[in-house]
Symmetry: C2
Subunit: 290 residues, 2 copies
Amino acid sequence: MSQDGRKQKAATDLRTLLRLPRGEQIDLAAYDTRAVPAGPGGKSAGRAATARLGKRLAGLQERLWAAGLTGDRRRVLLVLQGMDTSGKGGTIKHVVGLLNPAGCRVMGFRAPTPEEREHHFLWRIERELPRPGELGAFDRSHYEDVLVPRVRALVPRDEIERRYDEINRFEQRLVDDRITVVKCFLHISYEEQRRRLLRRLDRPDKRWKFSPGDIDDRALWPAYQEAYEIALHRCSTPYAPWYVIPADRKWYRDWAVARLLLEHLHALDPRYPEPDYDLEECRERLLKGA
Amino acid sequence: MSQDGRKQKAATDLRTLLRLPRGEQIDLAAYDTRAVPAGPGGKSAGRAATARLGKRLAGLQERLWAAGLTGDRRRVLLVLQGMDTSGKGGTIKHVVGLLNPAGCRVMGFRAPTPEEREHHFLWRIERELPRPGELGAFDRSHYEDVLVPRVRALVPRDEIERRYDEINRFEQRLVDDRITVVKCFLHISYEEQRRRLLRRLDRPDKRWKFSPGDIDDRALWPAYQEAYEIALHRCSTPYAPWYVIPADRKWYRDWAVARLLLEHLHALDPRYPEPDYDLEECRERLLKGA
């Protein structure tokens, strides 16, 4: 391959392209929510490309799952965060939905229950981690605990500060335990959120997703963006970086998350376990009437 | 609708057609494992019909899920049992795989761990039940505890006898707690199992599913069939009946399980929750700049 070819390949690696730059303060407003970096040419091409990625993803997932049954501890955790209507649920439906559900563990985290509040904020997260061979997907996560409490001043500021470090140490431990952590911030614009909320009101089959509190929260949009900027900055580490997914276009969001997962699974290169039995002998036994 | 029309409709209701008859001793050998009762005309028509069922299933599942978020405790538990290679995993992949994974809870039960052995055999089952709004799917289940221990005489016979009653009381409690229990026995023939085991040996991407113990178990085929006959007979109740799915043809198996699920979900008739907010007021707020 020519050097140009290699360069081009590197440029279309979404792990490079969408990864949050290290060390810099982040200005989310500077990220175009309608961008389609390295993406297919449009909606229908995008949907078709995602379906093709799905087949490759499912193949790699099956290998990971098979390896997990025979002692390989590796697994993948997809963490989805983003403002209301940013498409966390849609991504699970359309991307994780491409995989074999037997190997998936999906968890949506809502406001903590009284029991959960009695524990450290990472307690409920720990319990829902993927087991060896699984692909876990979190719709919201431990990051909620540095977003809502910060914006609504529910927790002293020094406690919030401590949480960023606790999250980093926690994720370091997950990575050390062979969990590949893929954290995606689904980035939508204020205007796109308005359109999506209106759409939820318009469609009888979408109204259940709506709450008037979603409108109240829009008044806090700048505070939430700032809380995200800080969380993404503080908790994007070399071992568990954040990816910023332009998410105003649903087809791009799905394609990009599927592609990111594929790149990570591809790098893991999971293998079907080698048979630990005598293949020919077993075949003989079956053919001879067993 | 004419009376004939009604009769025909009743005849194609798989809940009637595949339901284990009450009260009679069962002879599994009398059930044709290649039959396609009320099924589509063949493999490709069957696959297409299953895909269509999938869309309707996914729609009902979303309603069940939405209702579950607002207090409706109803959920569905699909229990899959059958001899090795009968297609429990395949059914989850191809039928549960049609649904939104966010609303599914899939569990495969293997030989009990030391911790599980310290508890009652229903303990590990209880922990994996679907939550309100979810569709749970069990690849093997509490029925393993009246199959393997019986065939291999691991547990005194009177203990096994007690377990049938315990299972029935347990399932009664689930049903009282608004869980619709759909129990499917995937019925394959001895010859079909041989073909599938050979296929697992032939295909490098299938060998991980094979163990030489699967051949040893074939010597116990009649004992397992008898253990199934007793379990199905003793534990097919009006509130949680067993369905016998002819499973030599994979396309029919998938279609039949999808169809059974659809019939049960259709009977539940889950509804999107009604908005508890003022729709017009919310729309106004958003349109006026909120």
